[in-house]
Amino acid sequence: MNQAEKEAYLREYSILKNQGKPFFPYAVAKDSVMAVVVMIVIIFLAAMFGAELGPKADPTTTTYVPRPDWYFYFLFEVLRVMRNIPKFTDLATIGVPTICMILLFLLPFYDRSPERRIERRPVALAAGLTTIFAMAFLTYTGANTGSPNTVDLQPPASLTAQQKAIFRAGALVVGNSGCLACHVLGNNGNDGPGPPLTHIGRILRPEAIASTLRNPTAPMPSFAALAKQNPRQFYDLINFLGELQ
């Protein structure tokens, strides 16, 4: 906006303001109605859904699924998606959220046109709608990604149907045992503190995997109990890990 446009706006605005009504009571009345609505909504939500308190925090468990509050889903989903696309890892480390934040701060400085009607601001309209849909979509997928404990890996095509079934069963055991809290498997799980397991089958033979599971290095929990109580699941687990070439 140049000086002439600024002055034109201020002139126009002062006329509109002079034709308006006083803030009190006209705007205050609307605001008060809205405040009552907000209060009713909050009390309704509070009375209907309450506030649950889960089990006490236990730093020694490794199986717990971290879930943020729903309004952070989009942020977590962005980071998850970015991490899974190798080309974008650098971008992800610079921080997509940081870039978005800076863009938001500087909005009045790069959008300098005097036009305010949204139908005459096609770029702003497209950017705004894209942002809304992206955030809604990311929140939705973030909510439906399911538990971060599911291992999303396809069995290698070379396996027989029976071996594929074992592969899937083993992936389920890994998910339910909370391995992803410390290990990364392909695009799943956290990288560290445990070593990545994406290609563990190349490094260790199944017998070595079995003995590591029985006698792990702390803080990893031992799977000796599982081997005793449910040898079938233990067998699936070892086979699954052994197939991760």
Partner: protein
Amino acid sequence: MPKLPSPPLPKALRPAPRRPGEPDEKQATTPIEVAADAGISVVDWIDERTSLSGGIRWMMFRKVPRGINWFYTLGSATMFAFLNQAVTGVFLAMYYRPDAAGGAYESVRYLTDQAFLGQLVRAMHKWGASVMIILIFMHMARVFFFGAYKYPRELTWIIGVVLLILTMAMGFTGYLLPFDQRSYWATIVGVNINGTGPFLGPYLSDFLRAGPEFGATTLSRFYAIHMMLIPGLIAALIGAHLYLVSKLGISAPPWIKAQEEPELRQTTL
């Protein structure tokens, strides 16, 4: 100095003009009149020393432009949700103990199960946070689509973005305080993600954790940030935001065009 508009009282409530022959000032006689006079003189006493009435008149009786609609209530609704958070938060703080060894969880357990209306107040705080986040994003969308962030309201927008970030930070720090499994593990992941941010990320993570590891002081740090640091900042910035809104005037809806004043047209004819 511009003349302040007089209070827009309905006709019935406006004081009647003095009739001829009546004395200038009626002497207060009944107890109610004496009490009213005492109230007025207290307000007068304060106003003589602070001149607050001018500021209040400036704030309350300024004009808002033609065409203001319900979308314009989203900002004040967000502030109202913040007030709800402040009030319920004070009551929660009366019971809460920031003790990572188990006291924190026990105090929230007591609050939820035993304290009178404790669960309702805690639920109102929890759901109030969600409502506030939704409202602040809707308010931002309104400002964006109406082009209200443009000249001369750029600074109001920037303060608003800071408020948005602080509100999200409130959601993040508050999530840890119940100290159950869900909040503990989500916060660990959250702080780690924070640490991957550029430049300041690792320092911010260390600051939040109060050290390189998630420890006993982390909870008190989150508690202090959630209870004192950010609420103070939010309150101060809401003040600045509101001052700018009053100073610059509420933006008119972009589709409303100013017409010439009808009286002006008549005088030229």
